[in-house]
């Protein structure tokens, strides 16, 4: 058989190719100039900024037989992932020094994982989505286990690896059923089949759909598939925890959204109920278990489960208003969570990680600026105006309300009020307790930049809320 072969257009996939090249160059640079961490982080920063600039110039296009598409929706999420990488790089310098991580592959692994995310948010075909997802996950497994002598990091990476592999297998089985029933792995093709034939009479198709949804819920850490999150967030190096809580989550939501919106738009009444249930369960689990945590990384892990629940409210509504609310929320969440983790890193010093909530007692007396910034991030995570967290939550709840999910919104508001207890408890510790030990934090240039960036993001989007939402809703046109 003689098959014609034409080279696919490479222009749409150029940012990914360039990032892979930079990641490979970093490995060589590390080989030639060992122990030169600043050089590697500078490379990463330049690559990140350059790619964001490049992404803004990209025209909507598709390549590889419509398997890989570039549209404003994917560009929006790619920018979030790159921002996550940039901020993590800013945070990392200081943390790597404290933890004595000398591995040069730290930055290249992070880049490979961002490449994976960029591929999966652009994927219009389940094969491409799966490949991007695995590239992202495999790199993050290594990053979590980077502290080779730390038993907790070993445990976290093994747990993450096993749970990740298990969830991928579930996702794949779902994909194989979807392929077998519809005859295609293309999301638009699946939608076409479903609208022509109907899905409700086909149990295998419904099983496949449910398995894929469970796989995605694993990836975005939504209950009841959240069990891995707290352990891994606690055991991983803090800079990687910050990265994991922002970038892979955003990419997961991008794929989740595309899968529901492009693949199964007509089933909205059915999956709306399921997503609503998952969203409420995530909020319940995240917010209630977070009340009893004493470790700040664990608390932020449960808070991230709860935030996955809030972000699902936007998908639940199934309207473009809801999707743009979720997109805006992921953008805002990147800033506020990165800010909170920057403070966690700021507090740690050699031999004392200061990850317990007790360590925050009296922080306002010894380090007023750090305490004030943490206060802003905690207010934003709670959703108190004038921070961005309030705006994000407001749009999400509004869109779900407009779609008619009144009770879901009511319960979500109640859980949001519960979450104020544990976020503001930290604020109380900082401002109303006496310090148990006096210490002065050291600001490094990278940390200062990360803190400044996230503070500007959180306050800026809180005071001038329209901009990001406008971009998000514009990027949904023609979807």
């Amino acid at each position: 058989m003689n098959m014609p072969f034409t080279m696919p257009a490479l222009a749409p996939i150029m940012p990914e190719i360039m990032l892979v090249c930079v990641a490979l160059i970093l490995i060589i640079v590390d080989l030639l100039y060992p122990r030169n961490r600043e050089l590697l982080s500078l490379f990463t920063l330049f690559a990140g900024v350059g790619l964001i600039a490049l992404l803004f110039k990209q025209q909507p296009a598709s390549t590889f037989g419509n398997m890989f598409i570039v549209d404003p929706y994917s560009i929006f999420f790619k920018v979030i992932c790159l921002l996550g990488m940039l901020m993590t790089t800013l945070l990392s310098g200081r943390y790597l020094e404290i933890e004595k991580i000398r591995n040069g592959e730290y930055y290249s692994l992070m880049m490979f994982s961002v490449v994976g995310m960029m591929i999966m948010v652009s994927g219009a075909d389940l094969i491409v989505i799966y490949l991007g997802l695995e590239l992202m996950a495999l790199s993050v497994y290594c990053l979590v286990g980077l502290l080779k002598d730390d038993v907790r990091a070993n445990e976290a990476s093994i747990k993450y690896f096993l749970m990740g592999g298990f969830s991928s297998a579930i996702l794949l089985f779902g994909i194989s059923l979807l392929y077998g029933m519809t005859g295609t792995t293309d999301l638009a093709g699946i939608a076409k089949y479903c609208s022509e034939t109907g899905i409700m009479s086909n149990p295998a198709l419904i099983t496949g759909f449910a398995l894929v949804i469970s796989g995605f819920c694993f990836k975005v850490a939504a209950a009841p598939f959240h069990f891995w999150t707290p352990d891994i967030y606690q055991g991983a190096p803090t800079s990687i925890t910050a990265f994991m809580s922002v970038a892979p989550k955003a990419a997961g939501f991008a794929v989740f959204g595309r899968f529901l919106m492009v693949g199964f738009p007509e089933l909205h009444p059915q999956w709306g109920t399921i997503i609503g249930f998952i969203a409420l369960l995530s909020m319940a689990v995240g917010n209630i278990i977070a009340l009893s945590q004493t470790n700040i990384k664990r608390m932020l892990a449960y808070s991230s489960i709860a935030h996955a629940g809030y972000a699902l409210l936007g998908l639940l509504s199934g309207t473009s208003e809801g999707y743009s609310a979720t997109m805006t929320y992921m953008f805002i969440y990147a800033f506020m969570n990165m800010g909170a983790f920057a403070i966690v890193i700021l507090l740690c010093s050699k031999g004392n990680r200061r990850e317990s909530l007790e360590d925050y007692k009296g922080l306002a007396k010894s380090n007023p600026i750090a305490a004030l910034l943490m206060l802003i991030f905690m207010f934003s995570l709670t959703g108190i105006p004038p921070t961005a967290g309030f705006i994000g939550k407001f749009y999400l709840l509004k869109s779900a309300l407009a779609a008619g999910y009144t009770y879901t919104v009511l319960i979500a508001v109640i859980f949001s009020a519960i979450s104020a207890y544990f976020y503001l408890r930290l604020v109380r510790y900082m401002y109303m307790e006496d310090p148990s030990e006096e210490f002065v934090v050291q600001y490094s240039p990278g940390l200062t930049a990360a803190l400044a960036l996230s503070t500007i993001g959180v306050l800026g989007m809180g005071i001038i809320p329209g901009t990001v939402l406008n971009i998000a809703s514009k990027s949904l046109i023609g979807f």
Binding site: L138, D149, N154, E155, G165, Y179, G180, G235
Partner: protein, 100 residues
């Protein structure tokens, strides 16, 4: 000719055995093998469907899955070795530093 549904049932059984093994066994290597079994159930499903539908997509997908599973094995076994150096165990019940 063997009907497609037989292959699908076989794949579903293999997948269930894999899931059961993952949930019940406590040795990390065996848990990992169970994941591989689940992936091979998927491969079987894809190849059978691809053959019956006369479409090559499923077979192509299988190659990708085999490749990814190989790299996953490399990373997973590496992580197990690192763990074993520190803890001298490959049983998940013995690794319980993180809880709360």
């Amino acid at each position: 000719m063997i009907p497609l549904s037989w292959y699908m049932v076989l794949a579903a059984i293999l997948f269930s055995i894999g899931t059961y093994g993952f949930l019940v066994r406590r040795n990390i290597i065996i848990m990992f093998l169970s994941i591989e079994l689940m992936l091979n159930a998927v491969n079987l499903n894809l190849i059978a469907m691809s053959h019956y539908m006369d479409s090559l997509v499923g077979q192509t997908f299988t190659f990708f899955i085999i490749t990814v599973a190989a790299s996953e094995a490399a990373i997973g076994l590496g992580l197990v070795i690192v763990l074993f150096r520190n803890k001298k165990t490959v049983y998940v019940d013995n690794i319980n530093e993180l809880k709360g």
